[in-house]
């Protein structure tokens, strides 16, 4: 569900100082807030609590983490900016939105780093810790003065807040407490339900002592008090109760819970950003379901353990990101060859190589579809929302089991750390995999008894009497035995491949948002960009442009009917967060242009001239950017 963004978002700058007077209440349909600190100062916790409480109060919400690559980057540096960005709305939110309307910053350097990349709205309100203005270190005082002068050239309303001074009245180490003071500021400004805030603080610090909880509550109250005594404005983003039970979590939590709900009982992984927190969430709860998170010695062992468990009758999963996917390549080929079910989660980050560990990209698509030497058909799925992160795991496991095939799930850093409310799943028995079949295998059945039409066959599982056989990565026949028969090489390859075609026949064509009957421009996306694309399309259609969009959740096999859908539009282009050559750049020609990865796939499979617009800025797409892209790409004379 996409919301039209009204221009009323944003606070008018520079109200007169109205100490003692009633604050001016600004009513907005949506507002975007960010909390910025040095790493380790807890801005993440503050932002997550604010986002969760807002969602619980009935606001649409989407939060994104701003993460530096190091655990303890140097303090007060632009590269060290750590934080959380929360878009709250009166309607459901499907993406991180555009520019930030209100900022709380613990120092001026992190503020500057975000200012310089244009992260803030022109009329943004900025609340900034002012201890640096009078700091004993002259360099720091100078840096403050210089940054503030630079910020003064913009049209922000900057409000200095004595955070350190205030926090020291209730705690000894203000560095550990400013985040809850900031939460108090936000709670007052946005009129959050303080009972819910306290509950959230209790949850956040559930593993800590009662004293820690009490101290954080004191800081929260202090923030509320300071804001009520010093600020002359409040912001009201009315909630829109959705009338159904909702849950709120991030994409990695959803992948973890979905993995459990699929009935899988073993997740084997090796730590890698930004995928690792899936296993953190799993490790917290999986054992109560009889499930094991196995932290293997390396990425290769992780998938090997998962394949071993799957082979033994219980479909398992492994969780990784790009560099780990590269290491798992040989084992993925084996899983295809011996036809064991397997789910591989790739939470994509920026590449190539170590790339951008904490930032979003969608550049593992071709590696996922084609990344193995030899012909290695497999299924590739991409969730587009946090809700889909939950359900995709159940779908993936069921396809893996039914088709005896590895299934790759491509999430990304945007979904991984984005928090969004969605309808509460209602667990159903059929989601959970049954225990391994241990019934005797009837005489005459073979371990790779491929149905000649579909390529499907029944798997024998250790423990089944009469089913003893060998699985091997070597070319084999229906008995699983090595074969030197040329016809069998061709036949078994066809059988492994055919399964994808059979799966495709069971899929629906993708839904076209906008004009199903066709029009001037069709945007095609996949994965986490759906919310931004659909919001932009809706806005552009409001301007009278003939633009529609469609979003693919199956990348291998591709959903059916694409060629027919594309044929109804004058221009088709993908929108992706991966690299493509600028067609106007030196040396780039129509023939040598390297295109967006989905565009490459679609051109190959439909023979339609699918163009692409892609960026690798390490951040999610902004609807406003895409509106500009649409304006520039609607074919001439395209206005309705």
């Amino acid at each position: 569900m996409v919301t039209t963004i009204k221009a009323e978002a944003g606070v008018a700058a520079a109200e007169a100082d109205t100490s003692g007077a009633e604050p001016v209440v600004h009513r907005c349909s949506e507002h975007t807030v960010e909390i910025l600190s040095d790493s380790g100062e807890g801005a993440q916790k503050c932002g997550q609590a604010f986002g969760t409480v807002s969602a619980k109060m009935g606001n649409g919400a989407w939060t994104v983490e701003i993460i530096p690559a190091e655990i303890q980057p140097p303090a007060r540096t632009p590269a060290g900016a750590s934080g959380n960005r929360i878009r709250i709305s009166s309607a459901q939110v499907t993406n991180w939105g555009d520019r930030t309307n209100l900022v709380v910053a613990f120092n001026e350097q992190v503020l500057l780093s975000r200012h310089e990349i244009g992260a803030f709205a022109d009329d943004a309100v900025i609340l900034v810790e002012n201890m640096w203005a009078t700091h004993e270190d002259e360099d720091i005082r100078k840096a403050w003065a210089s940054a503030m002068a630079q910020l003064a050239t913009a049209h922000y309303r900057v409000i200095e807040v004595p955070m350190e001074e205030q926090c020291l009245t209730v705690v000894e180490n203000a560095r550990k407490g400013k985040n809850m003071f900031a939460l108090g500021l936000l709670a007052w400004i946005y009129d959050r339900d303080l009972e819910l805030v306290r509950e959230q603080i209790a949850y956040t610090f559930r593993k800590k002592s009662a004293e820690v909880y009490e101290a954080n509550i004191a800081l929260l109250d202090l923030g509320v008090k300071w804001a009520s005594e010093h600020l002359d404005f409040r912001i009201q983003v009315p909630a829109a109760p959705v009338g159904q039970a909702m849950v709120v979590m991030n994409g990695n939590q959803a992948l973890a819970l979905g993995g459990i709900a699929s009935g899988m009982e073993l997740a084997a992984m090796y730590p890698i950003t930004p995928a690792t927190s899936v296993s953190h969430h799993l490790s917290d709860v999986f054992e109560s379901y009889g499930g094991v998170v196995h932290q293997a010695e390396d990425e290769i062992a992780a998938i090997g353990v998962a394949i071993g468990a799957s082979y033994a009758g219980k479909c398992a999963f492994t969780i990784t990101s790009g560099p780990g996917l590269a290491l798992k390549t040989e084992f993925i080929g084996l899983a295809t060859m011996i036809e064991v079910p397997l789910v591989i989660v790739d939470v994509q980050r920026g590449g190539p190589s170590t790339g951008l560990p904490t930032k979003v990209e969608q550049s593992d698509l071709l590696a996922a579809v084609f990344g193995q030497p030899g012909d290695t058909p497999k299924v590739v799925l991409a969730p587009a929302t946090i809700e889909e992160c939950f359900h995709v795991m159940i779908t993936a496991r069921r396809i893996a089991d039914a088709f005896r095939v590895p299934v790759l799930v491509l999430s990304d850093a945007n979904l991984a750390t984005g928090v969004q409310p969605f309808p509460r799943p209602e667990p159903r028995p059929e989601w959970f995999s049954p225990p391994p079949d241990q019934s005797p295998v009837p005489e005459g059945l073979r371990p790779f008894d491929w149905d000649a039409r579909t390529g499907l066959s029944q798997r024998f599982i250790p423990g089944q009497p009469g089913g003893m056989h060998i699985v091997t990565g070597l070319h084999h026949d229906e008995n699983g035995k090595l074969t030197y028969d040329q016809k069998m090489y061709q036949h078994s390859s066809a059988m492994r491949s055919r399964k994808l075609a059979v799966l495709q026949e069971m899929l629906q064509p993708p839904v076209v948002t906008g004009d199903a009957d066709g029009g001037d421009l069709l945007l095609v996306g996949w994965g986490s960009t759906r919310g931004a694309i659909e919001e932009a399309v809706e806005q552009a259609r409001g301007e009278g442009l003939s633009v529609s969009s469609t979003h693919l959740s199956f990348l291998s096999p591709l959903q059916p009917g694409l060629k027919q859908i594309f044929s109804k539009f004058k221009k088709v282009m993908t929108v992706e967060i991966n690299y493509s050559d600028d067609p106007t750049a030196p040396y780039i020609t129509e023939e040598n242009r390297r295109r967006g990865q989905l565009s490459f796939l679609l051109r190959a499979s439909t023979l339609v001239d699918v163009d692409c617009w892609t960026r690798v800025l390490g951040e999610p797409l902004r609807p406003a950017t895409l509106v500009d892209v649409i304006r520039a790409n609607v074919p001439q004379g395209g206005a309705r």
Partner: protein, 317 residues
Amino acid sequence: MSAGCSLLWTGAEEDDRVFDLHDWEGAEPRWCPGCGDLSVLTAMQRLAVAEQFVPETTVFVSGIGCSSRFPHYMKAYGFHGIHGRALPVATGVKLSRPELTVFVAMGDGDCTSIGAAHWLHMIRYNIDVTALLMDNNIYGLTKKQSSPTTPQGFASNTAPRGSWLPALDPIQATLGVTNASFVAQTAEWVPAHLYATLRAAYHHKGFSFVRILQRCPQYTDSIYKEAVRKPSIVELLVHENGLTVPELDRLYTNQRRHDPRDLDEARRLAEASDVIRLGIFFQDESRPRYDLIRALPQRTVEEKIRLMNEELDRYAV
């Protein structure tokens, strides 16, 4: 038993089947005549009959190489995987289905070279799996390249002027890893010792590591030529807490009483290169076992749905 039942049928109860050698004969071995792998296969089939392994609950996992064809020749469930990665697969099988009996067959390239990381960690995990390192000191299938266990100076196609460095000793390496629990060495040309060692390894609860000294008739026939002819340069480690093979007493008179509970002595013996030592260097069943530590009671679907609902309530808006 219906597929919907959560209790696994292990084949152990009310099973009056008797399995003979014929029940363990899989495909016709394609190893070269005189290959040490054949002796290992014979010993394993003998053990399967003697211990009445149940074919459907026995799993052989291997990597890639001559010796990794092993699962094809046993009539059990077999997993012939990829080079160096047999141990992670075996780990997955055992963690997921602890009631299965799991053997791993690896060559020296598999275990000590491309899969060395998994070897080291499997020793520490100490999962109840019996691993055979079928060590012929050479890459055979790919035609005579040096492996880490190739003796120094031994010429191969990749080191035609002789292997550059001293050979890696898998027994020393294994004994050096934290949480080792069963470390033995045997030789394919002493079948009675091979059988007794495999039997002890099978009965050991934990990760059993058996290095089997083997000749490759094509490429490394010469390495143990002297040891085969002269039992006097072989020393058997014997002890009532470890292994005794009385039928070898007449031929192998060079015997040393070594208590396999003594890790320091085991390491000292492994380090000394004066003779070829066969026997159990070290055994300790009290070492922590990852497969037991991580074992969990199975939940029914109903229980899982109840837990999932409680979990989702924690995220409720």
